[in-house]
């Protein structure tokens, strides 16, 4: 029952990701989204580093559960797959090098200090190690400007603080509800599509993944029709209004061995990436004087993030069990964020006959 209740949670979690990133005020489908005011503490470049592990989780989620058994029949087939995945967050992704205000490190302009444990560091310049969204407590850097300024106005560069992380070690990514089409050329397509309005901004996600078995073309494992090797490639697109545009590409190779019991082992290696742009308009209010030491925030400039991830290669291994129309599958992958995934596929329709694929025929 808990899993059934999970479905709306999954949709909500995806929506929440969008709201979290995209703000809530006066958004329209064709207009850039205004960033909520609470995010007026982060600059574009620091936001890129802060959110990078989250983008990695999302990107790896796109490219998980895209294949199982590499033995595709010469049949028309139709299936529905429900899958979920979660990532282990490496400690290396809990911090990033956050940019300091430009004048930090120039002791003619300001003297700065930061305290980590019992270690006090003075007049650092360039970058400072700060938590990502999955990290811990941020370290403020106190700044004592060396010159005077107008009375009543905070002298610059002032003390700087950063957003803190959520101490995450295990994160679920976007779940997959996908339609699977089998084509007699031993090709299989996975299609995902989701479109939901979030605060009047249209949020659309679609993904298409294709797998093509090829070992039979070269006579590889010709004496064992229960072994398959296939190439796979995938493309995903995620957008929110005109503010968020993110794409992911993946390609790889996978193989599997099936036993007559219906049990299969599969594995593969895959390259994947995620890239794109996110741009938000900062709410502008001429009556508000920001005390931020970052000129971008003081000047209420728009926030523009490059979407980058830690993800590149993944090696996966898993198990699948098919009984009747039901196929259960689970796998683990070594990747930038090691991944656990599981799901179930319901095969509704098979048109045509492929004796080499039929386990019962193989038994005979």
């Amino acid at each position: 029952m808990r899993f059934l209740r999970c479905a709306p949670i999954l949709i909500k979690s995806m929506a929440l990701l969008c709201v979290w990133l995209c703000g809530t005020n006066d958004t329209f489908a064709d207009e850039p989204i205004k960033i909520t005011r609470e995010f007026n503490v982060i600059t574009s470049k620091n936001a890129t580093g802060y959110f990078k592990p989250l983008f990695t989780t999302i990107g790896e989620g796109f490219n998980t559960n895209t294949y199982t058994v590499a033995r595709y029949p010469s049949q028309w087939r139709l299936g529905l797959d429900l899958s979920a995945c979660a990532m282990l967050i490496p400690s290396s992704q809990t911090t990033y090098d956050a940019l300091l205000p430009e004048d930090y490190g120039n002791t003619n302009i300001t003297q700065t200090a930061e305290l980590r444990g019992s270690a006090e560091t003075r007049n650092a310049s360039g970058t400072s190690v700060q938590p990502t969204i999955y990290g811990g407590v941020a370290t403020p850097i106190f700044s004592a400007p060396q010159s005077g300024g107008p009375p009543g106005v905070l002298r610059q560069p002032a003390t700087v603080t950063y957003m803190e992380g959520n101490n995450a070690t295990f994160m679920a990514s976007i779940p997959a509800v996908q339609i699977i089409f089998g084509i007699p050329t031993r090709t299989q397509l996975h299609l995902r599509f989701l479109s939901i309005p979030i605060k009047d901004a249209s949020t659309t996600y679609f993904g298409i993944m294709a797998s093509q078995q090829f070992n039979h073309l070269f006579g590889l494992f010709a004496d064992d029709s229960l072994i398959g090797i296939a190439l796979n490639a995938g493309y995903h697109s995620f957008s929110v209004g005109s503010s968020v545009s993110v794409n992911s590409l993946a390609f790889g190779i996978h193989g599997s061995k099936t036993w007559l019991s219906g049990l299969s082992l599969y594995g593969g290696i895959q390259y994947e990436n995620l890239s794109g742009n996110i741009s938000f308009v900062r709410e502008k209010d001429l009556n508000i004087i920001s005390k931020s030491p970052f000129a971008e925030i003081r000047n209420q400039e728009d926030l523009k993030m490059d979407v980058t991830t830690y993800a590149d290669m993944r090696i996966a291994a898993g198990v699948s069990y098919k009984i009747g129309i039901l196929e259960l599958h689970a796998d683990a992958a070594y990747a930038a964020q090691p991944t656990l995934a599981a799901g179930l596929t319901l095969w509704f329709m098979n048109i045509g006959n492929d004796e080499s694929y039929d386990i019962n025929k193989n038994r005979r």
Binding site: C6, L17, A113, P140, F142, T159, E164, N166, S290
Partner: protein
């Protein structure tokens, strides 16, 4: 034997099939919790001013969190708050006539206190103490102290008050460098960082 093995595999797969959804639904609940909250830090800036005072003595500063834009923007969504660290430095100082030069001045200590009214009763807590404060080491050079845990949590009480205001007291100890201990002025800075956990 073969049949037993088959039944075993089937039972294992079905068990895993039911266990994994439970695991993942818990995981998604955790993810929701994680993404539903975030924590920002806000530096609260104080500019304590001593005017024609004799050490040892105190000065008092008042702040209302509503004066901070970042606080105002988030105050309806604050789930918890904590005081984190603070830094102190001397911005400008003038010594009395005939007293040692500013760079030679040393205070026995400078203490910072937090106090606020709650239910009409004032409560005062020590934020931290800087010992042997040589002006030359503190002149426009920040020195940091982490707020003790028992005081850090008082931010909860302050942010729940209306108005969310409090006072800081700068207490200067006696002069250990000689001289009258009288200062026409001491302008100092005190930045106190507060952590606000905000939920959607």
């Amino acid at each position: 034997m073969k049949k037993t093995l088959k039944i075993g595999v089937f039972a294992a797969v079905i068990s895993v099939g039911f266990m994994l959804p439970l695991l993942f639904s818990g995981c998604y609940s955790d993810t929701m919790d994680t993404l539903s909250n975030y924590t920002i830090q806000i530096p609260l800036n104080f500019t304590p001013k001593w005017r024609d005072r004799q050490a040892p003595d105190t000065s008092i500063d008042y702040t209302n969190l509503n004066n901070y834009k970042e606080y105002q923007d988030n105050k309806n969504k604050i789930k918890s708050s904590r005081l984190h660290q603070f830094a102190y430095w001397i911005d400008s100082i003038q010594v009395g006539q005939g007293d040692p030069l500013p760079e030679q001045v040393e205070f026995e200590f400078v203490r910072y206190w937090l106090f606020y009214y709650e239910g009409g009763v004032s409560k005062k807590y020590l934020l931290g103490e800087f010992k042997n404060v040589k002006v030359k080491d503190y002149y426009r050079i920040p020195h940091i102290i982490p707020v003790p845990d028992e005081v850090a949590v008082l931010a909860e009480n302050i942010t729940k008050k209306n108005p969310p205001d409090f006072y800081t007291i700068a207490e200067y100890g006696k002069i250990t460098s000689g001289g009258s201990g009288r200062f026409p002025y001491i302008d100092s800075r005190f930045d106190l960082v507060i952590q606000l956990k905000v939920g959607f």
